[in-house]
């Protein structure tokens, strides 16, 4: 998402520095306010399980919608026209998928003090191999996710400041700030900053839409232009387009709902009522965010006609440049929009980093390496390993190696392979841990191989093929040989809430 903004230079730097200081301030505030509490896993990683409706809603929001939603979706809508309208329902699908597992997972999370998704898998299967494989897949997927955000931060900062701040300086500046406020306040800092970041993003996209409608003409003129030049952009998808639509709905719906950092947010809700209210709000957000950026892309079709694929990637930058030249209000609104975009990337990165550290703290260090460590030591181990991972990722992000690049692409594809263990395990007492292990491994390998080979049978994404194989192995394996009587009894007690 490299977008060059000619209009912005020092004002961009001003907004970024202001933003950085604000985030640090939030971290210090969260730290001072909770200084009396002893540092525990619950406090640091889940904000003491005390997030209220507004903060919980915004932390879900900022985790789901990243900078890419604002910068990457309009160009896609520009190229595909109304066939990309799928970006609205696929965000609603995420909430629908949540309803199939979040109610029970929240109740279990409360009862058993669950901290991470792996924590649940360990409680359910009591299998070292399943837990460790799930932890590795999650850490691998999360690390790649983090790497992608770092590269996006660097590009965003250098683009916003018209190259005045080089890519590398942007990466370092924001990562130092992000690590600092995360260390100071843990989940509380992350959730409070998510709230500010979410508001900045909402303000930005609405200003962009209003400005675009006012200065570039509305949807009717865009439709007339499409009718004359590319009528397929107005028509509903057929054949391959329809398969793509379908598989995006399924992949995004399942994938984003079971992202480890999304699952962890379920555990941090203050109460079930809070969680419910946050979900209801999230169910309408796609219209206000994905719908709005979609319209911006459609307006772009008539406003900046005939762009090549590469040029269309700059669409939001071009529109922002044009709007910023109109008057002082839009100038500052566009500076804030891009500040908001970078904020959104940072807010996705901080959530991912926190979950990454929590899996280290709780599921690897705390469970297998040093089970008798104090909670303080466990938190510290997670923080330090998280920091080491960040440093390694910065080295890779510094000059992304071209040939190894495919290795760093896999995230969605591997993260989604944890879904059967996570969701089927909630309801099916017969589910066999061994089948789960083999399914998860086979699904991840298949998704990886298909991605590397660029193989996409029937136009369906590689991650879904892996998930299909994975689920089939879980189901068939369990039918052939269900879990033994002791495991089944344990499962029955756990998911029957009888402990």
């Amino acid at each position: 998402m490299e977008v060059e903004l000619a209009f912005s230079g020092w004002s961009g730097i001003f907004v970024l520095v202001l933003y950085g200081v604000l985030m640090l301030g939030v971290g210090v505030f969260a730290f001072l306010r909770n200084r009396g509490m002893r540092e525990s896993l619950d406090e640091y990683y889940l904000g003491g399980r005390g997030l209220g409706v507004m903060v919980l809603f915004f932390t879900f929001f900022a985790t789901q919608y990243s900078g890419n939603t604002v910068i990457g979706y309009p160009p896609t809508a520009y190229r595909m026209g109304y066939q990309y309208l799928v970006s609205v329902p696929f965000f609603i699908m995420i909430i629908m998928v949540y309803l199939f597992f979040a109610p029970r997972l929240y109740a279990l999370g409360r009862r058993f003090s669950l901290l991470t998704p792996v924590d649940w898998i360990e409680l359910r299967f009591r299998s070292k191999s399943v837990s460790i494989l799930a932890a590795i897949l999650m850490l691998y997927g999360l690390a790649n996710y983090l790497l992608e955000q770092f590269v996006a931060i660097g590009q965003g900062v250098s683009g916003l400041t018209g190259g005045t701040i080089p890519y590398q300086v942007g990466v370092i500046f924001f990562i130092v700030i992000m690590v600092a406020y995360s260390w100071l306040g843990g989940m509380r800092s992350v959730a409070y900053t998510d709230t500010i970041q979410g508001l900045a993003l909402l303000f930005g996209v609405f200003t962009l839409l209003i400005g675009s409608l006012y200065y570039f003409g509305g949807l009717p003129s865009a439709a007339e232009y499409m009718q004359a030049n590319s009528p397929e952009k107005l028509n509903p998808p057929d054949g391959a387009g329809l398969t793509r639509w379908f598989s995006l709905l399924v992949l995004v719906g399942i994938g984003a709902a079971i992202y480890p950092h999304a699952v962890q947010r379920i555990f941090s809700a203050k109460s079930e009522a809070t969680l419910k209210r946050s979900f209801i709000r999230m169910a309408y957000m796609p219209f206000l965010t994905a719908g709005v950026v979609f319209m911006v892309g459609i307006i772009g079709i008539a406003a900046f006609p005939g762009l090549s694929t590469a040029d269309s990637e700059q669409l939001v930058g071009m529109m922002a440049n044009a709007l910023a030249n109109q008057n002082a209000f839009f100038y500052w609104a566009m500076v804030l929009l891009f500040g908001g975009v970078i904020a959104a990337i940072v807010s996705t990165a901080d959530s991912v980093l926190l979950t990454f550290s929590s899996i280290i703290s709780n599921d690897l260090y705390g469970r297998y390496i040093k089970p008798d460590a104090s909670e303080y030591q466990k938190v510290l181990a997670g923080k330090l390993v998280g920091l080491v991972a960040v440093v390694i990722l910065i080295v890779i992000a510094w000059y992304p190696p071209a040939t190894l690049y495919q290795i760093f692409v896999l995230k969605f594809e591997v993260l989604i392979q944890v879904a059967p263990a996570l969701i089927l395990g909630l309801y099916w007492t017969r589910l066999n841990a061994r089948a789960v292990f083999i399914g998860m491994l086979a699904g991840a390998v298949m998704a990886g191989v298909f991605t590397f080979m660029g193989y996409r049978p029937l136009g369906v994404y590689s991650g879904l093929w892996g998930l299909l194989l994975n689920t089939s192995i879980c189901v068939a394996g369990t039918w052939l040989a269900g879990a033994d009587a002791t495991s089944r009894e344990h499962a029955r007690k756990v998911i029957g809430f009888e402990y």
């Binding site: 509490m37 002893r38 619950d42 003491g48 399980r49 005390g50 109304y82 309208l85 609205v88 329902p89 609603i92 909430i95 629908m96 309803l99 199939f100 597992f101 109610p103 029970r104 929240y106 109740a107 409360r110 009862r111 058993f112 003090s113 509305g218 009717p220 439709a223 007339e224 499409m226 009718q227 009528p231 952009k233 107005l234 028509n235 509903p236 998808p237 057929d238 329809l242 639509w245 379908f246 709905l249 203050k270 109460s271 079930e272 009522a273 809070t274 419910k276 979900f279 209801i280 169910a283 309408y284 796609p286 219209f287 719908g291 309801y427 007690k493 029957g496 809430f497 009888e498 402990y499």
Partner: protein
């Protein structure tokens, strides 16, 4: 004693609603040249997809409000006491060793 639970996943009407709405948010039921019929510059088929999406959001709201209820809030209150009361969570952690 088994707690009283109401979960969307166990309700046939929830499944039925989700299946119907999922079918409706996939644009398979339009003519291939449906883009020529428009309302305020938006193709009618796109408005119908948006309508179905809104129906899905409303159905989600109904499901959350009426089909989802566990005993968590009765047992753990609104969570205020959990923050400072670590004994409670440590207790639950010990339970897991059972």
């Amino acid at each position: 004693m088994k707690p009283r639970m109401s979960e969307p996943v166990r309700k046939r009407r929830v499944w039925l609603g989700f299946i119907v709405l999922f079918v409706l948010i996939n644009p398979w039921y339009f003519a291939s040249d449906a883009g020529s019929t428009r309302l305020m510059g938006i193709p009618l088929w796109a408005l119908m997809i948006l309508g179905a999406s809104l129906a899905l959001s409303i159905f989600i709201t109904w499901t959350i409000n009426t089909q989802w209820r566990t005993d968590s809030d009765e047992l753990y209150g609104d969570g205020k006491e959990i923050g400072g009361d670590n004994n409670k969570s440590d207790g639950a952690r010990r339970d897991r060793e059972v």
